[in-house]
């Protein structure tokens, strides 16, 4: 009996240990980044935008606080919005993705801005972008440089072929 209760205690403590370990910084496993692409630009341009879908499958809110890329001197998160009929752009310091939620970074909305490019972004290039989250999670995304996004891509996502 004594041994059995000791064993139960050990199992219980171990289980609690693993549960709490799994909750801290486990966003890496629960954040899915898809359809990451970068706007290909002529060589004279030193700024471009990266877009992607970020899905948060965890039970906690995820907060993107910054991004970085070797290809850019400075990387920022920006939001486009309409005001007085004009498109406005503003730098934001964090982007919230709700638990079990999804955020689209797409033209006219959010984007990751790559500023002071160190080399041109040509169609077909793969640009690694590192996403930094508030809880310490870090995810590296390989964004493909394109001239344009396929118009039907959003309707194709999730379709079983």
């Amino acid at each position: 009996m004594k041994f059995k209760s000791l064993l139960c205690s050990i199992v219980a403590i171990t289980a609690v240990f693993f549960m709490s370990y799994a909750q801290a910084g486990d966003l890496n496993k629960n954040i899915i980044v898809s359809n990451a692409w970068v706007q290909a630009m002529p060589p004279s341009q030193t700024t471009t935008a990266a877009y992607m879908s970020i899905t948060n499958n965890s039970s906690q809110e995820a907060v993107l606080v910054s991004a970085s890329s070797d290809i850019a001197g400075v990387t920022e998160i920006h939001q486009m919005s309409q005001m007085n009929g004009m498109m406005k752009m503003a730098m934001i310091s964090n982007l919230h993705i709700l638990a079990q939620g999804k955020v689209e970074l797409s033209p006219g909305g959010f984007h990751i801005m790559l500023i002071n490019l160190k080399k041109p972004v040509n169609k077909g290039d793969i640009v690694p972008i590192t996403l930094h989250f508030q809880d310490g999670s870090v995810i590296v995304v390989n964004a493909q440089a394109k001239l344009q996004q396929e118009e039907d891509s959003s309707s194709m996502a999730g379709m079983k072929m």
């Binding site: 004009m86 801005m113 001239l147």
Partner: protein, 164 residues
């Protein structure tokens, strides 16, 4: 809606990417797609130009008579050479137009467009522009006849243009 009230004179004068003088009235018989932007624009300008590349592909042989005019609202940074290189990249029949701020503002006003230079102290960009995103279709007689917006899809735009 009658868009003919936008630039009813059906003319304006600016300078093109080769430094030559440009008069809208010299382009009768062509369908013009005009919009205001700047080459450092990271989002809606390249998006519009990429979409136009698809529109031109959908137009087929008609594409020869469709001319895109990109009027810069950032003449300070957008030199004629920069405009030329930028537009060439998107592979469409386009001319970049520039001028003094006064000349450009006159054209912006005639099409009832708007822009505002925004100096930012937090972003490394330094400054950027808020601007209206309309794409104006000017018919073969120089009359402003249709307005496209950012959300319009390439195939729908090609359909509209084919009707002119």
């Amino acid at each position: 809606m009658d868009y003919g009230t936008l630039n009813p004179q059906r003319d304006f004068t600016l300078h093109d990417q080769d430094g030559k003088i440009f008069h809208l009235k010299d382009h009768r018989g062509e369908i013009i797609l005009l919009f205001f932007g700047y080459t450092s624009c990271p989002d809606e300008c390249p998006t519009t130009l990429s979409k136009l590349a698809r529109v031109y592909a959908l137009l087929g042989p008609m594409r020869q008579k469709v001319l895109t005019l990109f009027v810069t609202i950032d003449p300070q940074r957008d030199t004629p050479q920069k405009l030329k290189e930028y537009l060439k990249y998107f592979n469409i029949n386009a001319i970049g137009l520039t001028g003094t701020k006064q000349e450009i503002d006159a054209v912006v006003d005639s099409y009832k467009a708007m822009y505002e230079k925004v100096v930012t102290h937090i972003s490394a960009l330094g400054y950027d522009f808020d601007h209206t995103d309309n794409l104006y279709l000017i018919d073969e007689q120089g009359k402003t006849s249709y307005l496209f917006h950012l959300e319009d899809k390439a195939k729908d735009m090609a359909q509209v243009i084919k009707g002119f």
